[in-house]
């Protein structure tokens, strides 16, 4: 345990709670060799005190790494109570961060050819279509949807609830676009831009922008994930 509980205190005393940032949340490493009450106090101090500015207001997953410590039911309750006092943190696990493969980027699915009416692509990850997506065809992806061609069918990005997902197409004229839980259809009088476009979520609203804005969109959405 000692190797992951990196010491950050200068006075030589080991931190009883070490906070580490990972891609999709925070890991709280509880020191093994201290009483539970001390650890809990330290945790409260850290969350309320010096580290409060690190929590930028967006919701984060908290993974607690309790090490070899056995938590009694009451202790666990007390621990969860401390986190519950901070609306931004959701306790997602007591056994450290999720195994690496769960949040490694998933392999994209690449389809070459015309996706025709009645055909469906459903994939956990990004979907890339090199060809047209005709009206009546359907794409459902847990990640982004990219169409190198005309998007005239329906596309659902972030099907698992990822509000950061986008739908992009060279010719963006879809029947219907969904991102996470938001559904939109093309306005009747939509004049297509002469360049590639993508749709993304801006709060509850869906917006369509030029491809050059995608990088900015990515940057902005990333920065809202506080990484410590």
């Amino acid at each position: 345990m000692a190797k992951s509980a990196k010491s950050t205190a200068s006075a030589g005393t080991r931190d009883l709670v070490t906070i580490k940032g990972i891609r999709n949340g925070l890991v709280f490493v509880l020191a093994d060799d201290a009483s539970f009450t001390d650890v809990l106090t330290e945790l409260e101090n850290k969350l309320l005190g010096s580290h409060q500015q690190l929590l930028s207001g967006s919701t984060l997953s908290a993974y607690i790494e309790k090490g070899s410590r056995e938590l009694s039911e009451d202790e666990e309750k007390a621990l969860r109570y401390v986190f519950a006092a901070h609306g931004e943190l959701i306790v997602s696990g007591l056994n450290g961060p999720p195994p690496l493969k769960d949040w490694r980027p998933k392999d994209p699915y690449v389809y070459k050819g015309t996706l025709r009416s009645g055909q469906l692509i459903e994939h956990d990850g990004d979907v890339v279509v090199i060809g047209d997506v005709n009206p009546g065809a359907h794409i459902i992806a847990s990640g982004d949807v990219f169409v190198m061609g005309r998007l005239r069918g329906s596309a659902h990005a972030g099907a698992g609830g990822d509000v950061l997902a986008v739908v992009a197409a060279t010719y963006f004229e879809p029947l219907q676009v969904r991102i996470a839980g938001v559904v939109r259809r093309s306005p009747e009088t939509y004049t297509r831009a002469a360049e590639m476009e993508f749709a993304y979520l801006e709060g509850d609203q869906m917006a369509v922008e030029k491809m050059s804005v995608l990088a900015q969109h990515r940057m902005r959405t990333r920065s809202s994930h506080a990484v410590i």
Partner: protein
């Protein structure tokens, strides 16, 4: 060894039967041995359009069930040297014709004829599955309407799932003045969506309805635009390169002048 061509569309009423009859007849006029096969069990029409209804004794289901030999069910069209019709059954159930039986029939026909033109029923269910089995090539017929194009797209997707070469497209019943006014889908739009090779375009023509009611395919008389269109299609099937028909009815002096100076 002949070639089996299935004529399909997904949507009903776009002109599968008319196209089958005319393509088959046109191929026969060009000197090929042709067999027309109607697979629309229960709703047979091809015999009516060909004017051979009164000569049906056995049908395709009889052949499939072994009630008669294949040759007994073939109706020879006496107007041509080498055109026969294998009619569908009118009173039997759609499921009476199985995929296996159909394959056997088509394989047999291919040994005797140059071209087997299969008229497919509307829809994408059992009848469609049976009709496309054993075919070497598919022709998809559509009209310049959203619904027909949508259904054609669906059918093309299903055909791609079979081991057929890419289907060929016929756009039927085009009304040039409506296309020009933007009230009808453009040929380029349709080809753009379906991304298939265009086998031919057929203008909307009253002669077709008249001829069908008289029980003779339009192509017999070369005096209508639809007839020329179907003859062109038949020649393209044989591998000739025939330019697409010009649908502009009468160019007129002013339009020609404007075209000349680049105003279109």
């Amino acid at each position: 060894m002949g070639e089996a061509i299935v004529v399909t569309s997904g949507k009903g009423g776009v002109g599968k039967t008319t196209s089958s009859a005319n393509i088959g007849t046109a191929l026969a006029l060009l000197g090929k041995k042709v067999c027309l096969v109607d697979t629309d069990i229960g709703l047979r029409n091809l015999d009516v359009v060909m004017g051979l209804e009164n000569r049906i004794i056995f049908d395709i289901v009889d052949v499939a069930l072994g009630n008669c030999r294949l040759e007994q069910a073939l109706i020879k069209d006496k107007r041509f040297d080498h055109l026969v019709l294998l009619p569908a059954a009118q009173t039997k159930d759609k499921l009476a014709l199985s995929v296996d039986a159909m394959q056997t029939i088509i394989r047999n026909l291919k040994t005797q004829f140059d071209y087997i033109v299969i008229d497919c029923p509307a829809g994408i269910e059992h009848g469609f599955r049976v009709a496309i089995t054993g075919a070497d090539q598919a022709i998809v017929v559509t009209t310049p309407e959203q619904a027909a194009v949508r259904d054609a797209d669906r059918v093309i997707g299903l055909l791609e799932g079979e081991k057929l070469p890419p289907a060929k497209l016929i756009i039927n019943r085009i009304r040039p003045h409506m296309v020009k006014n933007g009230d009808m889908l453009d040929i380029d739009d349709i080809v753009g969506i379906l991304s298939l090779d265009l086998l031919g375009i057929v203008p909307d023509d009253e002669h077709v309805i008249k001829a069908a009611n008289q029980g003779e395919p339009t192509v017999i008389r070369p005096d209508s635009r639809a007839s020329i269109a179907y003859r062109n299609i038949a020649r393209r099937i044989l591998g000739d390169s025939v330019p697409l028909m010009n649908l502009e009815e009468d160019a007129g002096f002013f339009r020609r002048m404007r075209k000349l100076i680049g105003l279109r």
